[in-house]
């Protein structure tokens, strides 16, 4: 078979990194320690490549693999997220030297799997890509020195993951039996009301359950705060962001089936409402910064649902934009968390005290990230929310948008709590100083610029997101 390699350049560039890491991982002892030097720079390659291949389109491998604006948009997002997490993790204090190359190998395999997930348009392909990205993650969550909490988190993640994958696979079989095809292009043509196709709808519900687990949507979120808390800060930064992108991309591909008025759409809307409310309420009571971010991601999964259920191209575009903004905001917060926690421990809110004069750039980045997560203008989160609300209004789920509005008011308390500790309290003598190197400040500045830029000049990015939205029939 003659395959033109250009459409796959982002995947291939990731794969190149993986092979290099693999050589290093099986190579001599001495080679393994050298990862920190070249990998961060190499991780910029997929960004460049995926930006260049934004315009590619095509359908490959018997219609199972589609390269289109949707997949390319998310590949850029994944590449950026991957690069930031690699930079972030390159100074990981709780990662043993002998594990270094393995850690990054798994990290890049996971990113690679997500990239392929973005292009999958057939259920079995989707499943394979998804598992590729998940299995790699199972391994790296436990890699946190000799921490027992990390082992516990890893086991939780595996157990939850295995069960949900099994359920999703079970759902596949129902869809296949009910609709006689696994190609999304054919599946979206069918009628997805329970009356017309009870078996397939049941199967789809089971499959969605698996996706909601990835996205940590209520009530499939129980793993999320625990895993964030147990995993090292840098690993949590990856787990909190990139797999969410993968889940969103699949949900967008499936969204053509969620016409307003179907049972399944209403169920998603209700879950979205519960998810945002529960996530925000639970976060109010947390002291651990990573647990706060964990519950906040549960809430944000709920917000994204607004775009998915609107059933319009704008809605899907808004959801893609919000997913991108979410990754940027969360990585900003995690960057600060990882830099403040110089010894790799879990940060409590009190550990942020006095950040404003100990590391002004980090304090500023934290404020930008946290306020963006609330949805305060002019940050990315606000624009994302505005797009979501505008696209969702008058499509039958106005109550969901009102609940989302009220949730903003609930969530401000804990996000403000982080900023409050950083800006209005003074540090106790003797607490370790945060990382104030140029590396740490440059990262903070770049990420805050990204978040502010997405909020103030969203037009260009959104243009592309609109193309994303129109991909889905």
């Amino acid at each position: 078979m003659n395959v033109n390699p250009y459409p796959f350049m982002p995947e291939l560039s990731m794969f190149l990194i993986i092979t290099l890491l693999f050589v290093q991982a099986v190579g001599s002892e001495r080679m393994r320690h050298k990862v920190g030097v070249w990998l961060p720079i190499a991780s910029l390659l997929p960004i460049v490549v995926s930006l260049f291949s934004l315009g590619q389109e095509g359908l490959f491998f018997h219609g199972a693999y589609q390269v289109d604006p949707l997949s390319q948009f998310f590949k850029v997002a994944i590449a950026i997220g991957f690069s930031v997490t690699v930079f972030n993790a390159s100074r990981q204090p709780t990662l043993l030297d002998e594990n270094r190359s393995d850690y990054f190998l798994f990290l890049s395999i996971s990113g690679w799997g997500l990239m392929m997930l973005a292009s999958s348009v057939e259920l079995i392909t989707m499943y394979l890509a998804l598992e590729l990205s998940s299995y790699a993650l199972y391994a790296i969550i436990a890699l946190r020195a000799k921490d027992r909490g990390a082992a516990e988190a890893a086991i939780k993640y595996i157990m939850f993951g295995a069960v949900s994958t099994a359920v999703a696979l079970y759902g596949f079989s129902y869809i296949l039996a009910g609709m006689h095809t696994t190609y999304l292009a054919d599946l979206v043509q069918k009628t997805w009301s329970f009356e017309a196709a009870p078996m397939a709808v049941t199967g789809m519900a089971l499959f969605l359950l698996g996706m909601f687990y990835k996205l940590a949507l209520f009530p499939f979120h129980f793993w999320c705060p625990d895993v964030y808390e147990g995993a090292s800060n840098e690993t949590a930064a990856f787990v909190a962001t990139l797999p969410k992108l993968g889940a969103v991309v699949i949900l967008i591909r499936l969204a053509a089936m969620f016409k307003p008025g179907y049972d399944i759409t209403t169920v998603i809307a209700v879950l979205g409402a519960l998810s945002m409310t529960f996530g925000n309420l639970a976060a109010l009571a947390q002291q651990d910064v990573k647990r706060i971010l964990g519950y906040s991601s549960v809430a944000h999964a709920g917000y994204i649902m607004i775009g998915l259920i609107s059933g319009t191209a704008e809605g899907l575009a808004a959801a893609s934009f919000y997913a991108l903004a979410y990754v940027a905001m969360n990585l900003t917060c995690f960057w600060v968390v990882s830099r403040v926690s110089v010894d790799g421990r879990n940060l409590q809110l009190d550990d942020l005290n006095g950040l404003h004069n100990r590391a002004p750039a980090l304090a500023f980045a934290l404020a930008v990230g946290a306020f963006a997560l609330v949805g305060l203008p002019p940050m990315a989160g606000f624009m994302g929310k505005l797009f979501l609300f505008s696209s969702g209004w008058n499509h039958g789920y106005n109550w969901l948008i009102i609940i989302a509005g009220i949730n903003t008011a609930i969530s401000i308390y804990y996000y403000l709590g982080m900023v409050r500790h950083a800006y209005t309290k003074e540090a106790v003598e003797g607490t370790p100083l945060p990382d104030t190197s140029a590396f740490s400040f440059a990262g903070a500045a770049l990420l805050s610029l990204l978040v502010l830029g997405l909020g103030m000049m969203p037009a260009g990015v959104f243009d592309f997101a609109l193309k994303v939205g129109s991909v889905v029939p």
Partner: protein
Amino acid sequence: MQEFAYPVLTVLVFFPLLAAVGLFFLKGDNTIRVYTLGVSIIELVLSFPLFAGFELESAAFQFVERMDWVRQWGVEYYLGTDGISFLMVVLTIVVLPLCVLCSWTYIQTRVKEFHFCLLFMTAACVGVFTALDLVLFYVFWEAMLVPMYLLIAVWGGPEKRYASLKFFLYTLAGSALLLVAIVAFRVAGGTFAIPELMEQNFTFNFQFWAFLALALAFAIKVPMFPFHTWLPAAHVQAPTAGSLILASVLLKMGTYGFLRFNLPLTPAASEYFAPLMIAISIAGILYGGIVALGQNDIKKVIAYSSVGHMGFVTLGIFLFNQRGLEGALFQMLNHGITTGGLFMMIGAVYERSHSRDLDDNLGLGKYMPAYMFFWGLFALSSFGFPGTNSFVGEILVFVGAFEQNPWIGALMVPGAMVAAAYMLRVSLKLAWGRPISWKEWPDLNLREWSYLVIPAVFVLYIGLAPGLCFKVMDASLIKLEKDVKEGAKIVAMEKENAAQVSANLALNSLKGIIK
């Protein structure tokens, strides 16, 4: 379309922001103070074309600047000012140098950040008053929350944590549904541009809910009676400059919102809810006054008096007649000048006695005559003594109220009397109490003179010659009144029974959920 050498409003919004960034390159606390003062004066100079070019007879928006921001959603960068917002913009710009001057010695820690917050606030406030795009308005509206929060939370008094959180949570909770309302306006009206939305007539049902969502945000900001509890806490804990901005500018945003959004966009619903709004305004006037009477903390007295004064403003707005609207706008301006002045006076005496308790500041009249002169002037103005600025505003609201319904006017009278009672009580003690805590405090110095003379001049100027202000606001207010009356009439046919409508709506949305 007027022509100017530079886009005036944009410059007024972004110059303080740029200048704020410049702060980071400066060293030394005094350099920063002088720099910020310089910036504030340049800002005043930059606003000159506003005075030179403002057309008094025109009710249209002036100094309009318009371009695309996010084309796909129709979000625009759209600025402009008219008779309603013009005075508020001027007030905001004038308050900035006063803020710098009155915190010259008051603020000793984290001076750079403090002035950063001040400049940021000014930019956001000018933005709020000039934005003609709903999203842009919302951006500025929320942007000013963070610096104000920091002003209270970092440089505030002993209870600052409680006060600042309460301020932030209340205001943000109010504006959460504002965003939903903005989106709903866009979907119903097809644009975010306010002037275009004013042309349209929305169904009564829509207006009903939109009014409630908008009113919640604005009522909290004003603050109207049941939502006022954040205000005394915030005022008492905030540093002097914080109280000044809060009283002079921030509270006005709430009433400005009523004038700019509720009345023209939801006229029928405004008329429908007017009795309720009038009732809680009167409740606010009486409640604020009576509670102020019982306070021993001077700042609390002024804080509660703000609740009362702002009650006059909202009352004037919902009378829907020319006198009421004029009175409301005047009262907004006057409250900014007078209460701002009083807060600066409290700051000045606090720097001497380190207490805001009435009993620690007795008998100042004997030793600090200049201080008592200014206090007396602002106090007289505060309860609307003839010849001062507040008299003009209050009498207009009174006239409007009696025009509308004598009972409303009658209910306001005790409110005005209580105002005199609590101001006189405080002033009496300050001036002629037995001085038990006095320790060789110096009278006002040059810096204090300079920042008190400015509001004092305005107190007398507006009090004695209010003609110019009338000219500025009249054209826009006449148009507003006409629009409201007409808009309400067009939609009046639909609203046979609003309770029924809302019940139906609730039922429908329930059905939607079940379906």
